[in-house]
């Protein structure tokens, strides 16, 4: 074996061992488990049970609403904030700090804060809404509002993070291009639409997969605030998996649902990369 290859083998071995044990093996394991757990031999019975389970269907629907409901507003707001706060004045730096702070705290801490913000009657939101004459609302206890409340919490938590990427993306838009468009008589909105936005393609290509990943893999707030309720209205895919594994002790359903989530995640991430890759505007 050539010397370099031997050295590479030794240097990669520690990482490779842990990756095998905790990233690749688990995928194989759930694949097998989903076919065999609780079955006599190997069949698709767990998948049949999974697709027949109304709780699973509800979790998938909720997760779709949650993904769109968190990604669309937080990415739009992040872009608006970035456009408004891109210049590094002292005031802008301070406002940016305020927007980024939620990123630094654990999602369970954010959930603890929001359990008070959303507390009916006495809580921060209702207390001040009462001054405007708006009656108390059961933000987390009403099945029609609970998912929206969870979405609001997530938007609050993640927007500042995405804003950072847009600020960096905006700084990379060449001023000459904007100036040229200005000379050609393009108004501010047209300049944004036809110059800035296409140039932000790579930023979107980066932010959207991250946002998707977050929508599929973060359920700490569901675990601590609503436990998926009321009546399943805030149950998300990963929460459903957690429930099957930790509470219902049903490894077959948990494994089948895990494999579907992993597949969805891979497909969505690759799809996003591809779609944006085609749409990306290369300056050179």
């Amino acid at each position: 074996m050539p010397r370099q290859a031997l050295a590479a083998l030794l240097l990669l071995a520690p990482s490779a061992a842990f990756l095998l044990a905790f990233s690749y093996w688990p995928v194989l394991y759930v694949a097998v488990e989903s076919l065999t757990a609780g079955r006599g031999g190997a069949d698709l019975g767990n998948y049949a049970r999974l697709f027949a389970d109304p709780h699973f269907a509800q979790a998938v629907r909720n997760n779709l609403v949650y993904a769109v409901g968190t990604i669309a507003p937080s990415v739009t707001l992040a872009l608006l904030f970035a456009l408004a706060l891109r210049d590094s004045t002292r005031l802008n730096a301070m406002l940016r700090t305020l927007l980024v702070m939620p990123l630094l705290i654990p999602l369970v801490a954010a959930a603890a804060l929001f359990s008070f913000v959303l507390l009916p009657g006495q809580g921060l939101l209702d207390w001040y809404l009462a001054r405007l004459g708006i009656a108390a609302t059961n933000w987390l206890g009403d099945p029609d509002l609970a998912l929206g409340s969870i979405i609001a919490l997530t938007v609050w938590k993640n927007t500042g993070y995405y804003m950072l990427f847009f600020i960096a993306g905006l700084a990379a838009v060449p001023q000459e291009l904007l100036d040229a468009a200005k000379i050609d008589g393009a108004r501010a909105l047209a300049r944004f639409r036809h110059v800035t936005l296409p140039m932000l393609g790579p930023t979107f290509g980066f932010v959207l997969p991250i946002a998707l990943l977050n929508a599929l893999t973060q359920v700490d707030h569901v675990v601590t605030l609503t436990q998926g309720g009321p009546s399943d209205s805030t149950s998300l895919l990963l929460y459903y998996i957690y429930q099957q594994a930790a509470q219902n002790d049903d490894p077959g359903l948990a494994a089948a649902a895990t494999l579907i989530s992993v597949a969805a995640l891979l497909a969505l991430s690759l799809g996003t990369f591809r779609a944006l890759d085609r749409g990306i505007h290369y300056a050179s």
Partner: protein, 272 residues
């Protein structure tokens, strides 16, 4: 007209940013109000103020233990990661071997296979390795980091080869070369990774919740969840605020002190 519109936009954005900070403002104010005042939501209460809630929270939760466990967990993960990502990052950046690109793509795949998603199989692995209900079990899935390897490969690639060639001429072997020549030069990359890693694991909840059952091995986030459940039941919102600050405060304060460092590290990431 234009100036007016601009002013309006500035005010709107400023108001939104301030609204963003209100939950934090409430946390700070409420945590300093002793007892159970009926207007606990007020952001501008008349007083009295005191540190009583912090003392109560400290006593009713196991904060010293949770801090210790969290520090051990974050420190342990980071220490092992720094070794594995430096070694692998060097191999991908500098060495030539068959299947390098394929192997690199496989390493990157891990970024998507988030441990939270693989809770079920990873728990089974922990049980088999006798790591279930141990801090080491929480840490183990993170010892390899696809993202860290990516970051270190980029960092090493940006370092001119001259340094290594000089050291090689002096007869240095690869481990010594990495330790004494490259690692010091790669410091910015390592610091960026350290910030991302510690932030991610300090804040993580679901995996530590599942991987450990003994109260004596709980970390801050898991402790906070049970602590707030208890305090909320007694409507002790001032204590909830104080407990939340005890958990979220250390990173928030570090962030405010070293903002530039944090922000530039997050820009590298994408993975929290």
């Amino acid at each position: 007209m234009r100036a007016e519109r601009r002013l309006l936009a500035t005010v709107a954005i400023g108001a939104a940013a301030i609204a963003w900070a209100l939950p934090f403002a409430w946390m700070a104010v409420a945590s300093l109000r002793p007892g159970v005042p009926p207007d606990i939501a007020s952001l501008t209460p008349p007083g009295p103020f005191g540190l009583g809630n912090y003392a109560l929270a400290w006593r009713s939760g196991s904060f010293p233990l949770w801090y210790l466990n969290t520090l051990l967990m974050c420190g342990g993960i980071l220490a092992v990661q720094l070794v594995t990502i430096t070694a692998a990052g060097y191999a991908f950046a500098r060495l030539r071997f068959a299947g390098r690109e394929t192997l690199f793509a496989l390493f990157m795949l891990q970024i998507l296979l988030i441990p939270a998603l693989l809770i079920v199989p990873n728990l089974a692995t922990l049980v088999r390795l006798h790591l279930y209900d141990r801090l080491l079990g929480i840490m183990a899935p993170y010892f390899a980091s696809g993202f860290g390897v990516f970051l270190m490969r980029q960092t090493f690639r940006a370092i001119p080869r001259d340094y290594e060639e000089a050291a090689m001429l002096d007869g240095a072997r690869i481990p010594a070369l990495i330790r004494h020549v490259l690692a010091p030069l790669a410091r910015p990359g390592l610091v960026a990774f350290a910030i991302i890693s510690v932030t991610a694991h300090w804040n993580e909840f679901l995996w530590p919740l599942m991987a450990v059952v003994s109260p004596s091995r709980q970390v801050l986030t898991v402790g906070l969840a049970s602590f707030t459940a208890g305090a909320e039941a007694g409507s002790a919102w001032g204590m909830v605020a104080a407990g939340t600050f005890l958990v979220a405060g250390p990173l928030l304060i570090l962030f405010l002190l070293f903002q530039r460092r944090f922000v530039s590290s997050f820009m590298f990431s994408g993975i929290k």
